[in-house]
Symmetry: C2
Subunit: 515 residues, 2 copies
């Protein structure tokens, strides 16, 4: 067994059984090891930003890390933007980065770079695997770190000689599954007092608190106390729709967010911090709460929300309360012009039960999602890091994680161009992803932001740097180039029909929404 | 005048008058400043890897830096792979990276990352512009560093508040144009003795020594002494073809490179180091020269080759010698099957005078270029950093730098997918770029490397990670999606015709070479 085989065996042994890969010369032994291990699934991506985004999507749905294979420093660099997004989403990930052999590095060949230096700003854990004999230990450590709560970015650098040298018979350490920490009893008692006061309170839920038993318990607390449940504008994954405990979304734009938060005397935070503006603006504050609003941290990022809510329900004497639940709203299929409302209605009407919705629709989708609260139950995934080009790779990884569920990936045209290579992997793997491109031929969000920033209204030259209409991208040709069937729609009824049609047979589809 | 305007004014004042940009919210004031300055050309790119690669291409042709505009840490990260390639090509570049305002950063909003940490491994110079009043000074320093010989990567981080705050009336410092250092007289004398010995000698030229007066003087030295002139397999830019002093290319593959170098008792290095294998292989050496070959550094990377050669010619008493020159070889247009030789002949026959050839053809082109030595005079640009996805952006920047010359961009299909967004910018700017995609539906280079690495022959599962034929990419649809007209060819005569046709009218063209 060589070092590469020891690495792959250890990954699989520790439960990491998928690798999103773009290999190069220095990773040939790793590729051979991937190929020889039947328990490891290898997924080829034609750009590393797809690999890391797909690993994020996998984690969002599975809560266990995937691995990536990246080719030296530049391969890692190409994956960094989506590593940033994954890190901000608390997604665990094990990156394997190929590297020159130690004996070769000193000659500074062309592909040499400071891989540790590139990895560190966006990784929680970085190690260079110095020897084949110890790589099983290194790998098990990488998986253990990636599997912590919240998830961590672990980056293991794999020199060629470590890959090809013989490894001893490794005794694999048992993975240390990091338990979630117990929340503070004092904080629970304090929050119980706040909730009993009857003063207007918003409980902001994030990360693992927006789904499953944690969400249901939050719904009991809300029902028992009258507190409202909120989320940041972006959340890693929310279980929502009919039957789920509904969560209100704090708006993105600063004035609207401030207006929303003004109503509350108290904000209770769960696995998140108090609301902050996405960007700074010359004449707007960074913190969004009203003056006089008190912030009460209940659950820190590494603590157990479900347990905190159980403790809180007991402190409130409300363990028997039924949770607040969203009613089913039957939305008729809309017709007529495409606008945020008709788009939302089409989406609400078309979403099949148990769909996964990956949203990077920015301009178009910002106002839409509120109108889909009563759709059939589904999961909503959002971009936590703000680096565009996250949605199509995340949808790819989510579809691989959940092969029995259809993924709807809503993405603006500007964002879609960043990691459009995802479509090829979706076609290769015949994934059930419906990609919806909102084609307004513009970084439209920036037109509003230009004014918000106090930069006035853009002149023709500045505007030409925001519009992407010269030329307009032919999205159907783009989809065809990578083997994905597509349809273009101009009306709400056609949009609805295209979404429903896309679920009728397996495999990827693309819908161009012409705005 | 605000900070952003001061920055843009300073860039232009210091001679940096083009900006390859992908802006975001935090760069709106910079965008306004770009738009308001008529002397600054702004070029929109739909992915940051295109921005940085285009800046590299600009420098290769102009020897002066371009600027880029990148959106916070992830925008910089997306540009890093081509910054790596540019750094290895000694291309100067000024990166402007947007950042949150200082007052906003402490709240750790989603797009926060350690931008200095990300910039440093691949930049020579990094600074955060802390105040609008001093940004002119910061910017002038960035340009001065980028303009050094060899060119440097300068990265200036621009917080939003620095951008929008008022700047005093800046007195711009004069740019310190770093002079090239004078070569060592002792080394010149030593190399003169080596050359006079008559023992077989290879002079390896790189960077600025492969063109202009430096190259011509090298040709005189070769003619006077019988020394041979060589280049590394990859060189930043070579002036070649009929009438130019010819340079032999050291092969890429280790055995062939060693066989080539075996003939020499002496290697003289000019702006480069002795030949090193691109990758390490288990059973092959890193250094490629024969045992007993002596290496004599003549010109260091920061020294002046043209001056060194003048000194050497005087030391040799050979100032009157005529340079060795490549004869024109009229290559008849080939016909029949496409293979490395017929591809080379088609290229040699079709290249118009003064063309710029950007080569990232890897598998297909590796054996071809030797057969184009006698073509009409042209410039050849190669990938110095080994990170794929360099060619289409570099071709974009080169075409903007030289609007009166046609650029031929030869690129493998695997590489082309990395930064395919370049085509859109080529269409937007109607650039005279002929992109030639060698579509073998495979990372074919890796099939050979798999065996070279001693990993045996790939099994079906490993092979599936090297082939990109499921699905095959439809390159004509891809070109159409971004507004670039295309043609597909299957024979040498059609390939030749398509290249010639592509030069008949302005604007980008794409040729798919089906292999």
């Amino acid at each position: 067994m060589n070092g590469a085989e020891s690495l792959v065996n250890t990954l699989v042994g520790q439960g990491v059984d998928i690798c999103f890969a773009n290999p190069g010369t220095s990773e040939m032994h790793f590729l051979a090891a991937l190929g020889n291990n039947e328990r490891m699934r290898s997924v080829l991506c034609l750009f590393e930003g797809v690999c890391t985004g797909a690993a994020d999507g996998w984690y969002r749905m599975k809560d266990t890390p995937a691995s990536t294979l990246l080719h030296l420093g530049p391969g890692l660099a190409n994956g960094l933007a989506n590593i940033h997004n994954a890190k901000r989403a608390s997604s665990g990930m094990v990156n394997i980065v190929g590297e020159h052999s130690a004996s070769h590095l000193k000659y500074d060949p062309p592909l040499t770079s400071d891989i540790e230096g590139l990895a560190r700003p966006l990784s929680h854990w970085v190690r260079r695997a110095d020897a084949a004999d110890t790589i099983a230990w290194d790998t098990a450590n990488a998986v253990a770190h990636a599997s912590e709560h919240p998830g961590k970015i672990a980056t293991l650098i794999l020199p060629g000689d470590t890959s090809w040298q013989q490894a001893g018979s490794a005794v694999l350490p048992v993975r240390a599954r990091a338990a979630r920490k117990t929340p503070s009893f004092a904080r629970v008692e304090h929050v119980a007092r706040v909730l009993r006061s009857g003063e207007p309170t918003l409980i902001i839920l994030a990360n693992k608190a927006t789904r499953g038993v944690a969400l249901e318990r939050a719904g009991r607390i809300a029902a028992a106390t009258g507190a409202r449940l909120g989320s940041q504008f972006f959340t890693a994954r929310i279980e929502r729709g009919a039957g789920r405990t509904p969560i209100e979304r704090i708006p993105y734009a600063v004035p609207q967010a401030m207006a929303f938060l003004e109503a509350f005397r108290h904000i209770v935070t769960v696995e998140t911090a108090e609301p902050v503006a996405f960007f700074a603006y010359p004449d707007k504050p960074s913190l969004l709460k009203a003056e006089g609003t008190l912030v009460h941290p209940l659950v820190e990022a590494d603590e157990d929300s479900a347990l905190a809510f159980e403790m809180l329900l007991e402190a409130l004497g409300a363990t028997g309360t039924a949770p607040r639940r969203q009613e089913r709203i039957e939305t008729p299929a809309p017709s007529g012009a495409l606008n945020p409302l008709s788009i939302a209605h089409a989406l609400a009407a078309a979403l099949p039960e148990n769909a996964i919705l990956v949203d990077e629709s920015l301009t178009t989708g910002r106002e839409s999602m509120g109108h889909t609260m009563g759709a059939l139950p589904h999961d909503l995934i959002n971009n936590m890091g703000g680096s565009i080009g996250y949605a199509t790779p995340v949808a790819t990884g989510a579809a691989l994680a959940c092969p029995d569920r259809r993924v709807f990936c809503m993405v603006g045209d500007g964002s879609a161009m960043y990691t459009i290579q995802s479509l090829w992997t979706q076609a290769r793997e015949q994934l059930d992803v419906t990609t919806i491109i909102f084609a307004n031929n513009s970084y439209a969000i920036l037109k509003a932001e230009y004014a918000n920033m106090g930069a006035g209204s853009p002149g023709a030259r500045a505007l030409s740097m925001i519009d992407i209409d010269q030329p307009c991208i032919d999205w159907q040709a783009m989809a065809r180039s990578m083997g994905v069937p597509s349809v273009a729609v101009d009306t709400a009824e056609d949009f609805h029909k295209a979404m429903v049609d896309s679920t009728r047979e397996r495999g990827p589809k693309l819908i161009v929404v012409r705005l």
